[in-house]
Symmetry: D3
Subunit: 325 residues, 6 copies
């Protein structure tokens, strides 16, 4: 059941909130990414029999955060030659990389496609995951992933995930069939939040396509929605009453709003006005701060967190056709 | 939240209930199908720009029940030649044909693929539908489709749908790129129920792949589950207290259990033991009555109505590779 | 569980929103009603043994939209003579005409009473319905009645219902025991919405009594409530993303706010401040636009969609006693 | 959402459980009723302007338990003369006597009709109540009425209610327009449970019409349903862990099963197989023990606690026409 | 699931609503308390074997409203001598005094501790209650305690409870081991509301510690929350449509906001910004009107009705150490 | 809302299911515990100011699994001397050690009391936790703790927890104020499951008090309840369809039924017949296999997972008084 969950569209379009950004934001991320690259090894692409005949499928293992192995799928149209533009997809909260035949769209559109598994996730009843998330610190946290290591940016879960995501782009760019100058990042919900992080951390992306992104403008999100997964933050802070400041300090390093100010690639966002999971003001906060001039946002007035669903894809292809030449 | 919803597996495997079949079952269906074929016109396959490059996509309009236009998608791998085996897919309850890029699996596996829209459906918030369901009788019914025209087999909704489904196979077989001897029918839930109907009404199918089929063994279904959509029957009978006998008399013409006894093509069913939507005893009732010797059923012990989801596909391809040569 | 669901009462009392009315609104309705009258045949009133002794009961069939048969009940006190004032009742969403002894109030108060069945409805578990709703177009729609034929005013479901409702007044007026100058229309929820339509389409009504009316001020309704049945509109638009403009264009012909501006009979509305089904601002939008000067609205501050329930009846009788002489 | 909630019908028809009846059951009730009669004063029937013209309406106050004033409505067809048979109605749990025009059916069928308010009840959001329930003991209890004074038969709430109900029959019989030999008792749910109590305590009733009766076979009820209001017992016993024996000892004096064995008037029960509120085995336990030979039970196979709703009425009238001559 | 349920904190801090106070408020309470004291008898403290060795436990019975017996527990550290400061605790809605070992905190902190049972309550599935609530008037009311006798301040339930609460302080002060000048009152939710009433009615309290208090600023509460138990008021008024004015007139005698203006003891409140049961504006209304200058309020930003839970206790001890010397 | 959720009590009393125990069960646990002891360091007991005066409180850190630090509270009555018997408490699922004043019961009864924090848990909105759970493997798992490392007994979460629990007894026994021959283990739900594990792994316990224990008879639990937390297993297996055998193989090392056969200390269990979280047949499976002759089980017929709540404590003290001398 859906209804408007946030401000009217006119107010959303103008919403440009103050940001809360740690002074060492760039240094924190530069160090983190550099460390991961230093210990990284070349990505493995093992052929996988997905019972498909028009798509070559590879089971990918690449070096993510701290060089840890991260799984993924790599799909490439069987009948095309040469270097292709490549779409890198990040997955929504709770899901894993699933099975290769669940990811055929971008390949069918003629792109190479790398799908990154999200570490630790993928046991929620739908898309299965295969990537461990070693956590040698193991701070107490609310069930789920959003509050793991919350009180310390070094140990926060999304430090590992965002680093994996940057390294997924590295892995794609290193593949001989991928044109490294034409890499696109995309994802919905958590995948959209990861997309924004990568957009702020990686240079030279051809396009950035975040759909109904999660992981933006955390404090407002915790105040205006009681839906999962932002609710995990609320539950954590409800229990650990003394950790409010530390938690939001950490989240400053992981806020899509802060990554957006560093992102310059052409972009097409999407947002849904009846989305209680990722309320529209949190999405517009990131969109309005996004640093590119070639930017647009599709507004779905009668949708919830499904946003544009399959209807967003043609719009995204239009953008890619324009920017990829 | 899931738990066992029916008998233990051992009892299910042996469950072969008595059937309640109208004496003129075969005549009813022969007449219905013949009438549809008599007024039918050739199917239209109009090229559609789905922004895909490895798949040719056609927007299909074929003559269904009473010659009425029924929509669908036809997808065929762009780089293959000659006649291909063809999979015909029927859709789950509430959904419509959606968008072409939502149906890429069978094409990617090298098959031609016809997806039949379900008349009237496709406005439930996810897969959109485009096929009208003219209903010049318009008997009062419970919201949804399951009780439309329930008290008269002539006006019952699924008479129209099952006829459309038979005609979808006709349309596929008439396509110059399809090998008419290698047509496979499949679908999940309502799609599985339609699959069973087609399996009982159409000769020469290469294989029949019903997943967690709906529309089987109605009376027991109404007694052991309070989940939608069987609940629509309960709600109807709760209101129209005098229509119980007429309703079940009608349903005798539309019961997957009765179609199964007429089905001889090789088959692979699936069933889930925690499926409250299509309880396993209703599925086993059809499977155990299925008339082929080349038959098997995948049992998913810890799944609900999602059944095998993407995990069923590789098993289905194995069967097709075996029976299609 | 109830709480305030809309603006405070002071703001509601002054709420006079702009209206969105098609230019050919009057022509559309004049044509529609005229066509129905042209093909109409005299109403049938068949005596019905309802096991009652103080009330004469008739099973009514009258010519509604396109001359189609519409059912109803006609009750008249057994011990009164001559022409009586007549109340015509329209029914709430989902219900049908039920059984005659469920409609005894107005007869007991000394009025003739015609209860109109709502076509297609009456299978939701309570009041049973007996009137078909032939729909030879049969556009895809969300389960329920509210989005049937939504994208075209000609095929929209309520075109048929509102026409039936006008014709119900015709049927009442033609009955030899009814005083045609003393016909009153009433109904709650959907019945209230139909009441408003009739108030705008029929001349010479003695009084108009809409309770917590539905079918008013659609766009705001879809934005501020997630309750059924307005939610059917949201679900439709969530699926058919391209139909937003066409849908609201259609609804302009069916908005109680537009009918209200054409209504001049004395009226008593009711509204409930905790009514999430028909939020009070949508009711006040119609009330404040209602064109009569002899108008009043009962405000129930602590009620939900039940509104005044049985407590509204004495107030209504007071009005009728005054205006009917 | 409904499904079978108890045994299959065949087993229910034969279910004749052992009864748990206190040795002084008859004495307890004889004393209680006698005391009430001793302090009773004649019932008051005050004319009430219900805005009706075909029904005379009286606001009744009669002496109930301990002579306390109990309210009710008395309705009698305005155009009939002489002594009439009288139906006494008891109300479902939570509701009060409401407004007179909500009780027109029996009057319209030609009977005098006394509706007894249920003491203390009638503030649950629908039918309003007007009768206090003085409780000078006031033992702690679960919200609601079912556990008031539960540990002592003398102070148990239904001792007061059942006595009121017996006295309501007295009040009806004393009215000059009522034929005291043709008094019928009826009610649904709690009203059906009260009906059974009166059937066991009052001689010479013309008929007994309990619909989906509550207050029967308590222990099984607490074990097989988690629905209100039997759940109040569970909640009480869950809190007062030491009171289980005392509670069931008390309930032995108030069990419809025990009253049924003393009831000899012709009866028509109703029961619904999907009724989780008053599960069918608890109803059949009373029906199968009912001591008359002129007895029948209407079984509604696809209904929940609404049972036959308005459809039961014609069946009841048939019985009354037969037994009342 | 929690989110902000009321105004932002800045607005709450300044919220000082107009009060609606009956002219004879003080007289009403002076009379009520005086009458209770006149008929009171000395409290009984009977030793109770709670299987504890470091705490002396007494089963208390003292004279409450109208001299009626009210139960409680009295706990005192086994190894301390002389007169101790005493904390008097009132209990949250629905709960009773439970078992002594469920109330060990204040005793372990070195205080004498009197826990007052709440009359009639304590059968809701958790803390058991043992105190009857004789109600010789017994007006109809919504299940629960909040609307008992609502239309008359003399018969309103909380008149009895608040009087019991004043008399509990009397009982504590009369105990030879308690220092009557160092009595503290506390409680959460309903216990906090009772605490405020006692704070306004009893002189010379050492401290007042209301946590997330209920029973404050009733009209706003009924408008902004649909949570229990304020919802009982809504349900009552929804049924008894004519009682709105009488109800709020009564509640004027029982509003924590009015008691707060008479309270002068040092106080520490607590409030939670995500508390839908006792919305923060209703708590701040009382706090901002509280008449002492030595006052503070702990704000829990990410908590619901649990408020500070165990984290409030150390803050309360800090206050007591300061004010008790 | 509660009702019977499993077999009748008579059947439960006789239920002695076959067990599924790995051949190297004892070796697995002997190795695991030995490794932990080898790397362990002496427990730290740091005085903690809990604002209490009759109880000495210590913040405990002891060496658990792999020598990792585990937190706890140690409380000892301030006015007793010498070595005391000690109760070791394990906590229910989701909760952490909370605050010391939330654990006063056993101390007030005269026992030393060690409360063990559960690693990783304690962020669910109530009892806060302070112990990390380093997980250097980090297999994908369903949110929560129950499926962490599920497919390998070496990495399964409860291997770490049960080892911590054994080491907690070691820590208690090493404390100079504890009599090592009089150590008792207890806990409810997950705490009860841990209690059973310790009962099977540690010699010389004085008594074992598991309340409504979790972590028993897993396969049946997954089939008969859809309640959390057993549902985490179902969700995992629903996603990881191929892991069913590996999962149950792992769980064989962690099943309370298997530990029970090795437990010889006197015991008092509790079980609730309406407990859907830990269904009674899973509890009786463990109880009936429990190897001691001095054993008893308290059956709560009308309770859910709260079981006996505070009412179990006096029964437990009775046992302790008997066995501790």
């Amino acid at each position: 059941m859906d209804m408007l969950v946030d401000w009217p569209l006119e107010r959303l379009r103008d919403y440009l909130p103050d940001r809360d950004e740690p002074a060492d934001f760039d240094e924190f991320w530069a160090d983190t990414v550099q460390q991961a690259r230093e210990v990284g090894t070349p990505a493995l692409f093992e052929p996988y029999d997905a019972r498909l005949s028009t798509m070559e499928v590879y089971d990918v293992t690449f070096s993510g955060f701290a060089g840890q192995p991260v799984r993924g799928w790599f799909l490439i149209p069987a009948h095309l030659d040469g270097r292709l533009p490549c779409v890198v997809t990040y997955i929504g909260y709770g899901g894993g990389r699933g099975l290769p035949h669940e990811w055929l769209t971008w390949g069918a559109a003629g792109y190479a496609h790398l799908v990154m598994d999200t570490r630790g996730q993928g046991s929620n009843g739908y898309f299965v995951g295969d990537t461990p998330d070693p956590d040698p610190v193991g701070l107490p946290h609310t069930p789920g992933f959003m509050t793991r290591g919350l009180t310390d940016p070094q140990s926060y879960y999304y430090r590992r995930v965002f680093t994996d995501a940057v390294r997924a782009v590295d892995a794609a760019r290193e593949h001989p069939r991928v044109d490294p100058d034409r890499v696109v990042v995309t994802g919905a919900s958590q995948g959209g939040g990861i997309t924004l992080a990568v957009a702020g951390l990686v240079d030279g992306l051809a396009a950035v396509l975040p759909d109904v992104p999660f992981l933006c403008h955390y404090r407002r999100a915790t105040e205006i929605t009681d839906a999962m997964p932002y609710q995990e933050l609320v539950t954590y802070l409800k229990t650990h009453r003394g950790d409010v400041d530390a938690a939001f300090r950490t989240l400053g390093y992981f806020d899509g709003v802060n990554f957006a100010t560093r992102a310059t690639a052409p972009t097409l966002f999407s947002v849904a006005l009846m989305d209680a999971v990722c309320p529209p003001s949190t999405v517009f906060a990131a969109y309005n701060h996004y640093a590119a001039t070639d930017k647009d946002i599709t507004v779905w007035p009668y949708n919830g967190h499904e946003g544009g669903a399959g209807w967003q894809f043609p719009r995204q292809v239009e953008l890619l056709r324009r920017v990829l030449g």
